[in-house]
């Protein structure tokens, strides 16, 4: 049996719908050169982009994945890893990005917000260790938007307050 360890994630990948790399972070040297990494990405893309199956065993590694419109998200771990843990990472990443991009999880919006992506992944997994699994915490720590908190994230009181303000001003015109 393998040694119990906190280092559970091997890689986090985001590919576009041609299978080209948008974001890739490898946490160990399973694929040490960029060439090998790209070959691996091509392989998993070919095997997964047609089906909607969530999970597969490819090249001896467990791959969990999720796609949305024109983006494909992958979290890779060893085949001994608890698959549900890897799913937790994937879901956290997807949900955090979903909030940060205001539900607009597609390529163009992602490209416009790359630093948010970098920081978010850094908060979720660092060096292969899972740091956070709660998307709210991740969004809070990345805290890209200083003042203009989007409508969906404000509390009810805040919304009512700003609605009152708007009505007041429109009446005054």
């Amino acid at each position: 049996q393998t040694e119990p360890s906190l280092y559970t994630v091997k890689a986090v990948l985001i590919l576009d719908n041609d299978g080209d790399r948008l974001y890739a972070k490898y946490y160990d040297d399973t694929y040490p050169t960029v060439k090998e990494q790209k070959a691996f990405e091509k392989n998993i893309f070919n095997k997964t982009h047609r089906t909607d199956s969530e999970i597969a065993l490819l090249e001896g590694l467990t791959v969990v994945y999720k796609s949305n419109i024109d983006l494909f998200f992958y979290v890779i771990g060893s085949s001994h890893e608890n698959e549900l843990m890897l799913m937790a990472v994937l879901n956290c990443l997807f949900d955090s990005l979903s909030q940060m991009l205001r539900k607009n999880v597609e390529r163009r919006a992602l490209l416009e917000n790359m630093e948010g992506l970098f920081l978010a992944v850094d908060e979720i997994v660092d060096g292969g260790v899972i740091l956070e699994s709660d998307p709210q915490q991740v969004v809070h720590r990345v805290a890209l938007r200083g003042d203009d908190v989007p409508l969906t994230e404000q509390t009810v009181t805040q919304v009512l307050q700003s609605a009152k303000e708007q009505i007041k001003w429109s009446l005054l015109r």
């Binding site: 890739a24 199956s53 608890n82 260790v129």
Partner: protein
């Protein structure tokens, strides 16, 4: 790829990363800085084809970036940290930012502390022990050296009771990492946490893994509190924990069916979960259970059958292979139909898994071989990679071996396959098999056409293999011999030299029409070690001699070439550039030859496996390797001194033989300091007067000069005193005088050796109840190689014939045919043949 597509790809890259193309209204004033960082960061992650960051470029970019530390923009600062981490490996002088990072690490801004710490850890080893806020999230110290981290054990302990679930998880991982070499500390830690309860599902998973590791190391019984803890996790609220617990239980060695039951029922529930990941995890784990405890999984068969049509192909495949392991004979037909419908859609890796499961099923239900064979031959015709086809070929071959009735169909399918096979390795393997099995079938002539077609049509390697196969037909079947000779003549005109050489060689041997020659040169190949042969021949050419070269002086190949497992087909050596690695035997030969006293002993015949002469965990650890020469034996004692306050010198193992063996010489190990193994040797002469007295027991005592020494410095005292240490007795048995050798065609070898020195005797084996046991005992006692798969006793038979082959010390073949009958006890009639009368006597004497 059409030109248009290529262009699109290049454009795509720039489209993805050319920030100036998209105006962003959301950016705060430090736009250029951010964009620079974004670009640098993405460049590191995703360099355009053919370009990458050189060290100088990276260092320059790095220095430029450090100015951005001035900005107060949070995001910019955070991006700086990320870029530092990314560039830590490619830039030089990265530690220049250490002071800025340290300031951020201890600063007031919460948001910076964690990421700053992590960046700092990546670039340097933080030895300055300031307060380390382990209890705040996002502060996990990665990649730090053990010595540094262990200072924060107390903080880690506190953090483990934190409310934050991730902090708990990290603290636990850290504590385990710090203490993993101290088993007692680990179990104390486990005790504490299993009682106090945890909030984090990740921490629970970690605990479960630590607990199962501990159980495995201490070989704890399954009534320990650790096991109870894991079992209680099956009822945890979080699925992740439940699954981890089930998986841990399933992987534990020596689990009874009763202990497995709760884990299996939990997995069964998961099979019907809507989440694919859960179904996948469950079916994968059930697959592993089915390998060892198929009966435990039969309860899930219905759920598994539902999964065959799952949209996720991996799940479907795993479901099928699990069913194959647990299914009954009647369900085999139905299962095979279901598999054939979807096997074309799954990836190669899974296809191989399915084939291996079918192979296991074939062995379980040999009567179903015709159904399986049909199915396998269909799969063989479909597309697939090399690994897949090879798995199928191996499966078919193993069915042929187990079931003689399936042989003709199997061989026919394989012949059809090689008509159109692009994999040389597989073609040669099948030709080799045809050569071996074909001549024994009722109508061997039909295979000749297939083989000869290969000679005409294929590559050199395959042609050479085909020639060898043809020769075997000619050698075994007299009526085919004239036709084979004609074909062989045609092969002598081949364009490749290996093919011509083989054809000429076989032609000449076959024309002699002598059984003995056929046996030696066509049926049973070289049994000597090839590097050994090379050396001996080289030696022979250097010293001109009147005597012809004697094969008997060449050491035998130590690993018997098992019949169906040869991956490397008999290809011409010019095609295979790899050299055969020196075997263990060759290494020992070199070592012993370097000792002057052992120069005149002749070639090394055999080296035994190491025998332990001390129990585990004693002060001195000694193991012995017995080297057999033609008339002597050398005992090599590998000794290790595990006491760090002693230095041993002039170490010798004194041996007292029980029989007529004569100890000639001791070669001591000069010095044995703490924990450095050394070897000493004893040279013993084999008894001349009674050559059949081959077994002997030696009582062994280790004698040495011991000097006490300081455990810390290793400095020995000036004086020493003699001491001795008694070891376990060492046995030399008949197996030490015989080397295993595989004869693929035993009857040919039997004829070749001849009956000049044949002797026969009958024995009653009193203490043995079954034929299986008898066969096992004889094989291990004599140390000879079973041939023609005669080590497998078919079920429900009362008699069996065992064929054993070996080479006796001195180089003569020795063959044993043992007829066993099961009656009241087991009676055995042993017939022994050899070129050397001594060998025959020795075998019979030792069995008696």
């Amino acid at each position: 790829m059409p030109l248009g597509k290529k262009k699109k790809k290049k454009h795509d890259f720039h489209k993805n990363f050319d920030m100036s193309a998209h105006p962003h209204q959301d950016y705060l004033p430090s736009q250029p800085g951010k964009r620079l960082l974004d670009k640098t960061h993405t460049f590191c992650i995703c360099p355009p084809p053919g370009e990458h960051f050189g060290t100088t470029e990276a260092t320059e970019a790095f220095f430029a970036m450090t100015r951005l530390f001035q900005s107060n923009d949070q995001t910019l600062r955070r991006m700086c940290y990320l870029t530092i981490k990314e560039m830590a490996n490619i830039s030089e002088d990265v530690i220049i930012v250490t002071s800025s990072l340290t300031k951020d690490m201890t600063g007031k801004e919460d948001v910076y502390r964690g990421p700053a710490i992590r960046a700092l850890c990546r670039i340097t080893d933080v030895s300055a022990a300031s307060s380390f806020p382990l209890s705040s999230p996002s502060c996990f110290p990665l990649h730090m050296s053990y010595d540094v981290v262990k200072r924060w054990v107390n903080e880690a302990q506190e953090a483990a009771s934190s409310d934050n679930i991730m902090v708990q998880y990290h603290a636990l991982g850290l504590l385990y990492h710090l203490r993993k070499n101290d088993r007692l500390a680990v179990s104390k830690m486990l005790n504490k946490f299993t009682k106090s309860g945890l909030k984090s599902p990740f921490a629970y998973c970690m605990l479960i893994r630590i607990a199962s590791k501990l159980l495995e190391e201490t070989e704890g019984g399954h009534d320990s509190p650790l096991f109870d803890f894991i079992e209680s996790c099956l009822r945890n609220k979080n699925e992740m924990v439940v699954y981890e617990a089930a998986s841990a239980i399933v992987h534990m060695p020596n689990c009874t069916a009763r202990e497995l039951a709760p884990a299996v029922s939990v997995l069964q529930l998961f099979c019907s979960s809507p989440k694919a990941a859960l179904r996948y995890a469950a079916v994968r784990t059930l697959n592993k259970v089915a390998m060892k405890h198929p009966s435990a999984v039969t309860a899930c068969n219905l759920d598994l059958e539902n999964l065959i049509t799952d949209s996720n192909r991996s799940i479907a495949t795993l479901a099928i292979t699990t069913l194959l392991k647990t299914g009954s004979e009647s369900s085999v037909d139905r299962l095979m139909k279901q598999i054939s419908s979807f096997v074309s859609e799954i990836s190669d890796e899974f296809k191989v898994v399915v084939v291996q499961a079918i192979s296991a099923l074939c062995q379980k239900y040999p009567r179903k071989h015709s159904v399986m064979m049909n199915f396998l031959s269909n799969m063989l015709r479909d597309d697939g990679g090399f690994e897949y086809k090879r798995a199928i070929v191996d499966c078919i071959i193993s069915i042929i071996e187990e079931n003689p009735e399936s042989k003709e169909t199997g061989l026919a399918h394989l012949c059809e396959f090689i008509e159109d096979c692009e994999h040389t390795v597989l073609a040669t393997k099948i030709l080799h098999l045809l050569g071996k099995e074909g001549p024994r079938t009722p109508s061997p002539s039909k295979y000749i056409r297939f083989i000869f077609n290969r000679v005409v049509l294929e590559s050199e390697a395959v042609r050479a293999a085909a020639v060898s196969a043809l020769a075997k037909f000619g050698a075994q079947n007299d009526d085919l011999l004239p036709s084979v000779l004609v074909l062989m003549q045609r092969c002598m005109m081949d364009s490749d030299d290996e093919v011509r050489d083989r054809a000429t060689f076989y032609m000449n041997v076959l024309q002699q029409k002598q059984k003995a020659l056929n046996a030696a040169y066509i049926f049973n190949g070289l049994s000597v070690s090839i590097p050994g042969l090379e050396k001996s021949l080289h030696q022979y050419t250097l010293e001109p001699s009147e005597k012809p070269f004697d094969m008997k002086t060449v050491p035998l190949a130590t690993t018997p070439i098992t019949e169906q497992k040869t991956e490397i087909a008999p290809v011409a050596t010019s095609k295979l550039p790899e050299k055969l690695a020196p075997s263990r035997q060759d290494i020992y030969q070199e070592q012993l030859a370097s000792i002057p006293e052992f120069q005149g002993l002749g070639p090394l015949f055999k080296s035994s496996e190491p025998v332990q002469l001390t129990e585990a965990e004693t002060e001195y650890v000694v193991r012995c390797i017995k080297h057999t020469f033609t008339r002597h034996m050398v005992f090599q004692f590998d000794c290790t001194n595990t006491l760090n306050d002693q230095l041993l010198q002039k170490v010798v193992v004194q041996m007292e033989p029980s029989e007529a063996y004569e100890v000639l010489h001791y070669i001591p190990a000069p010095s044995l300091p703490y924990s450095q193994p050394g070897s000493c040797y004893s040279l013993v002469r084999l008894p001349d007067d009674d050559p059949t007295a081959v077994s002997c027991t030696f009582s062994c005592t280790m004698k040495y000069l011991v000097r006490d020494c300081d455990p810390n410095t290793g400095e020995p005292d000036d004086d020493g005193y003699d001491d001795e240490y008694v070891l376990e007795d060492l046995e030399v048995t008949v197996a030490d005088h015989i080397q295993k050798v595989l004869k693929p065609n035993f009857s040919a070898a039997w004829e070749e050796v001849g009956d000049d020195f044949e002797k026969e005797e009958t024995f009653a084996l009193a203490s043995v109840r079954t034929l299986d046991e008898a066969v096992g005992n004889i094989i291990s006692f004599l140390g000879m190689q079973p041939c023609e798969r005669s080590d497998k006793v078919p079920e429900n038979k009362n008699s069996h014939v065992l064929f054993l082959a070996g080479v006796f010390r001195g180089g003569n073949d020795v063959l044993v045919r043992a007829r066993l009958a099961l009656g009241d006890g087991v009676t055995m009639q042993v017939t022994v043949r050899s070129g050397d009368e001594t060998a025959v006597d020795v075998i019979l004497a030792s069995v008696g």
